[in-house]
């Protein structure tokens, strides 16, 4: 393992501190509790927090700022933050209009955010939650945890954040965020595994000449292993899977070509070229496209494609200004 770090146990705090130091006027950092929040606090609006395990940078702290999150709370690498950390974030941002929690659909996050919300209620903080589950690789079954939340979370932050800036109520912000979730699907592919700083070696292997379709952002096994494909073939496989799950035909969509951390931008641009061609063929209009590392999996190589079907409301919210380290409009 070769990583730029001091101690494996200190990567989360050190990274968040480094992020804050790059945006000293916009962000503050609460050490040990691993919370990043907007310096301009308790703005008179519904507050928005999100969080989860570290290792997905810039998610979530990179989306703290005007037009998106008010605070982000981080757990250890790939591990949910505890209720005391989440509670700190809730108290930091709450101004009496309620706090919406954007939670990715993992057992640990659901339990920890749920308990934090129960405790915050005792302090008079009203919360509501939206659960992101966009990974089309996983069946959305009733029983058990079901579909994972992955890169589409970035769009949910954007939509909910813009709605909150408009002065909407907690219920209205939640409803817009839910609408975004319903219209988002993501499908990923991994080429090589990631290495957790505290583990020091890959937790699984992907054969040199193979790729893993549908792998999760923590290296959860995908839907199938396949021999290495061309960019065109990868784009087709991922888009087919997305479109088999949700009908985007004839629609306008926001597109996110997301890198998993170890894939060069050059390859992401190539993937985007193929995706854009296919969208055109399938009469889907790419209304706004993002290409880059938005929701990573430490140093995993690979990418994901996210589509969010848009209506007039979602378009307006997507176009609204935002100013965060990882996304500015």
């Amino acid at each position: 393992m070769k990583k730029i770090m001091n101690k494996p146990t200190e990567v989360v705090g050190d990274a968040l501190m480094g992020l804050q130091m790059a945006y000293p006027d916009a962000l503050s950092y609460i050490p040990k509790l691993e919370v990043i929040c907007r310096k301009e606090k308790k703005i008179d609006k519904v507050a928005l927090i999100s969080g989860g395990g570290a290792g997905h940078e810039p998610l979530h702290a990179g989306y703290v700022g005007k037009g998106m999150l008010d605070a982000a709370v981080s757990g250890n690498v790939f591990s949910s933050p505890s209720p005391d950390r989440i509670g700190t974030a809730l108290r930091e941002v709450s101004c009496g209009k309620g706090v919406l929690m954007v939670i990715k659909n993992y057992s640990g996050d659901i339990m920890n955010f749920g308990m934090a919300a129960d405790l915050a209620k005792l302090d008079g903080i009203e919360t509501s939650q939206v659960i992101v589950k966009d990974d089309a690789a996983v069946p959305d079954r009733e029983e058990g945890t079901g579909r994972r939340g992955i890169a589409g979370t970035v769009f949910v932050h954007k939509i909910a954040g813009a709605r909150a800036e408009q002065g909407a109520s907690l219920e209205e912000v939640r409803a817009s965020a839910e609408k975004a979730v319903r219209n988002i699907r993501t499908m990923g592919v991994a080429m090589t595994p990631c290495i957790l700083p505290a583990v020091g070696k890959p937790g699984f292997q992907i054969a040199e000449d193979e790729i893993e379709i549908g792998m999760g952002i923590h290296g959860e096994q995908g839907v199938e292993s396949s021999k290495i494909k061309t960019a065109k073939e990868i784009a087709e496989i991922l888009l087919d899977k997305i479109m088999a799950d949700y009908d985007y035909s004839g629609a306008e969509a926001a597109v996110l070509i997301n890198g998993l951390g170890g894939t060069p931008l050059m390859e992401l641009y190539i993937l985007n070229m193929e995706v854009q061609k296919l969208l055109k063929e399938r009469e889907i209009k790419a209304y706004r496209t993002l290409v880059g590392n938005y929701c990573t999996s430490i140093d995993m190589t690979g990418a994901s494609i996210t589509l969010m079907k848009l209506d007039e409301e979602l378009k307006a919210l997507l176009d609204a200004p935002c100013d965060t380290p990882a996304w500015k409009i």
Binding site: T9, G53, G75, N76, V77, F78, S79, S80, P81, S82, P83, D84, R85, Y106, S107, G108, M111, N112, M115, V138, E143, G144, T145, R148, L196, A198, V199, G203, F204, G216, H218, G219, E220, Q221, V223
Partner: protein
Amino acid sequence: MDFSLRSRDYVEYIKRAYELIHSRGDYITELDSATGDGDHWTNLNMGFESLVQQAERLEEMELSEQFREIGRIMMSVIGGSSGILYGSAYIAASKTLEGKEKIGEETLYEVLLSMRDAIISRGQAKEGDKTMIDSLAPAVKKYKECLDRQEDAELLCEKVKKAAEEGAENTKKMEAVRGRASYQADRGLGHLDPGAVTMSYQLVTLMDFAAEKSREK
């Protein structure tokens, strides 16, 4: 003979559990990598390490307060699913220990029962879902059987320990319903659940320690 564990003893147990967990890092991480993301041991180990570092402070507390504090530390240091589940378990158990100075045979059963119930309620999982519950629940059940039969403490400890180990071993045959293993096509079938294994480490250490204490008397 009955055993009796005081605050100081429970901290001694924590130290021994830490030693066992600490020594099995590679094995647990390997198990976890097969079905999860390989961080279970790192986080659990960090939690126990933190408890051991705070041993002196914990030893001075009354049992109920001590359990609440252990729960708080586990919740915040371990994080993830394990942190909140162990945290909820210890906080629930602390309520059964109110006003008690020592943990005897009957009380230890109440402690483990309350832990089992808290984990089931917080995790919304049941026996057979391939989780830590699959080691704890059979151990609790066996404990009750032994109590009802008025089994000798040392034998009771031995049987509960076996039930915990067998329970963890049985997760090999189970399909995961929750957590990351549930995303796999085979839902982890054929693999041990690392959370059940580390739960069994704790129960084995605890029952061995209680047996040792019952012999001391």
